[in-house]
């Protein structure tokens, strides 16, 4: 009697959330896996007018065996690598430059971070213009800017390239999220006890040695968080591609785009399979990280 009075009220209070999330997260994940294992490929089946039968892992095998989906996976990998390297490099450099107290620090910080407040769709509008593939007389956007500043050789056709076009889409993504990574690293720098800096200075360390041997090694956990957050965001890449190159463009498609296209063509089974594949990819990244965090927390 006494014990249930202790645990029942809090459980009741949290129950709306528990019910919603068990249905909308766990329930739907299960239904999605189930749909992905049927032959639900037509609009009549999607509408439930015609029955679908269980086909096991066939849809997964078909997808992973197809050139088109392999192209999406390759694009996703390329995009993620460029996005990660770019945001980590800029974010780290900016944080390092801004770490020591200086004038106008707040202005630099605010400007570097502001693209984060804008939607991918809105920034996609201007980046579509900047990444215009016209060159020479017809060039506008960045290609025209390269001409103006005398760097003509840098002109290229950006995302209109079958093998590496996707990396052009990573440029606006880097523009939007480098400031975020900077904020993470800045918090990391500021979290290092002042005594550590003082001790190194007393020992006669130069500024560079102070950073190289004392401060940088302290940033490992922040760097790991940044990699996981950006990587996680990258795997779900969708908005920017929709805004810049339109979904039907083969050269810039990734799994999230395939999922959208397959659903639009009422191939629910394959669409669901793409979703589950994305889930597995994200889980491979996130679960070890969460386990690592939990272990750290216990220590």
């Amino acid at each position: 009697m006494r014990t249930y009075k202790r645990w029942l009220p809090p459980l009741l209070l949290i129950s709306p959330t528990l019910v919603l999330l068990s249905v909308f997260v766990y329930g739907l994940l299960a239904v999605n896996v189930q749909t992905s294992m049927t032959d639900n490929h037509t609009s009549a089946q999607a509408a439930g007018v015609e029955p679908s039968v269980f086909v096991g892992l066939q849809n997964y095998l078909d997808l992973l065996g197809s050139d088109s989906f392999q192209h999406s996976l390759k694009n996703l990998l390329l995009y993620t690598v460029v996005f990660l390297v770019g945001t980590m490099a800029f974010g780290f450099l900016w944080a390092w430059l801004l770490d020591r107290p200086m004038r106008f620090e707040g202005i630099f910080r605010s400007v570097y971070l502001f693209p984060m407040a804008v939607s991918f769709v809105a920034s996609g509008v201007v980046w579509r213009w900047l990444l215009n593939s016209n060159q020479g007389e017809q060039a506008s956007g960045l290609n025209r800017l390269f001409q103006i500043v005398g760097l003509d050789f840098l002109q290229n056709n950006w995302w209109n390239n079958n093998s590496v076009g996707i990396t052009a889409i990573a440029i606006p993504a880097i523009w939007q999220l480098s400031g975020y990574v900077m904020a993470l690293f800045l918090a990391g720098f500021r979290g290092i006890p002042e005594e550590l800096r003082e001790a190194a200075r007393v020992d006669g360390a130069t500024e560079w040695k102070l950073y190289r041997h004392v401060l940088f090694p302290q940033l490992g956990p922040v760097a790991l968080s940044a990699v996981v957050i950006i990587g996680h965001m990258s795997l779900k890449a969708f908005d920017l591609i929709m805004a810049i190159s339109k979904p039907a463009n083969y050269q810039t498609k990734v799994p999230a785009i395939d999922m959208y296209q397959l659903k639009a063509s009422f191939d629910y089974a394959s669409s669901a399979a793409v979703g589950s594949i994305l889930l597995v990819i994200v889980a491979v990244l996130i679960i070890p990280y969460l386990v690592h965090l939990a272990r750290e927390g216990r220590r």
């Binding site: 809090p10 459980l11 949290i14 959330t17 528990l18 919603l20 999330l21 909308f24 766990y26 739907l28 994940l29 999605n32 800029f90 900016w94 107290p101 200086m102 630099f108 605010s110 400007v111 570097y112 502001f114 693209p115 407040a117 804008v118 939607s119 991918f120 769709v121 996609g124 509008v125 201007v126 213009w129 900047l130 016209n134 060039a139 506008s140 025209r144 103006i148 523009w175 400031g179 904020a183 993470l184 918090a187 500021r190 979290g191 968080s225 996680h232 779900k236 969708f238 908005d239 339109k246 999230a256 659903k263 669409s271 793409v274 589950s276 889930l279 994200v282 969460l290 965090l293 939990a294």
Partner: protein, 293 residues
């Protein structure tokens, strides 16, 4: 790395070092680099602003980077006419979505940190997992479920989805914040005979204003900028501004960059205003949203 990250990174209160007053090559180089990157980051802003004021006479590619020959407000007018209904709808969506999910998150955070029950940590982990799933992995059954529940397409569906899928992050932020509330406060209320709801309402809730600001801003921004749910659960007739903007920019109409860039600026104004006016809280949300767990 948990509760302490709720607020903006603290300014270091260090007396300037002796080298500060002196001219130094290192410092000049640092400013030069920072200025260079500042210009780089602002290039798209220049393009947006300049193009939005350009008329048809400035369409030639050779004038792409020039200032307008004639400054005009036509693009802005046209963009406003096209987007204003969607902007109103987005407000109608974002305000309730942010309020409801923040309130629920606050209750969850309280229960999971300061009125714990057996298995609270497991429940928290299960809630948190919802933050990491790619929504593509639930989209097919989700669209079916929303139809089956009879929720109208457009804003009502989107409010529901933003509330539900916002719960993990709002719960996380509040839980981390309440962990920093001294347990003595709660205990004192308990000893005075206050029950769970009384304790929440009279002790915890009044302390929560700062994290409510953080969470509301976070939810406001992410719902305002959302495109994925908008594409799947609304149309340009009943959807939010991201969808309307994308249709404006990529629509069947002749590509008119002047109008779409004015539109992009209009659609970004609310979140930019929040960022400029409440930047500290905005960054607070970023930090707590980032360092998960």
């Amino acid at each position: 790395m948990t509760a302490s990250t709720l607020t903006a990174p603290p300014e270091r209160q260090v007396p300037p070092t002796a080298t500060r007053s002196r001219f130094s090559v290192g410092r000049t180089a640092r400013y030069a680099l920072l200025l260079f990157f500042l210009v780089l980051v602002l290039i798209p802003v220049y393009v947006l602003l300049v193009t939005s004021f350009k008329g048809a006479g400035d369409a030639a590619p050779s004038r792409a980077w020039n200032l307008p020959q004639v400054w005009t407000l036509e693009n802005w007018q046209l963009a406003w006419e096209t987007l204003s209904p969607a902007i109103v709808r987005t407000l109608q969506m974002v305000v309730p979505a942010a309020l409801i999910s923040s309130f629920l998150g606050s209750i969850n955070g309280f229960v999971l940190s300061r009125w714990r029950f057996r298995g609270a940590d497991l429940v928290f982990t299960l809630i948190l997992f919802g933050m990491f799933i790619p929504y593509q992995a639930v989209m097919i059954p989700l669209s079916q479920l929303v139809i089956d529940l009879g929720i109208p397409s457009g804003i009502p569906s989107l409010i529901l989805l933003h509330v539900i899928y916002g719960l993990p992050i709002t719960t996380l932020i509040f839980r981390n914040y309440y962990e920093s509330v001294p347990n003595e406060l709660i205990e004192a209320a308990r000893i005075d005979g206050a029950g769970m709801l009384r304790t929440y309402g009279s002790v915890v809730l009044p302390l929560s204003i700062p994290s409510f600001v953080v969470v509301l801003i976070w939810q406001f921004t992410s719902a305002w900028n959302d495109f994925l749910f908008a594409v799947f659960f609304s149309s340009s007739q009943n959807g939010p501004v991201t969808l309307a903007l994308n249709n404006l920019a990529n629509g069947a109409l002749l590509q008119n960059y002047g109008v779409s860039m004015s539109g992009a600026l209009l659609a970004s104004l609310p979140t930019l205003l929040v960022y400029i006016l409440l930047g500290k809280y905005f960054i607070g949300g970023l930090m707590s949203g980032s360092v998960k767990g």
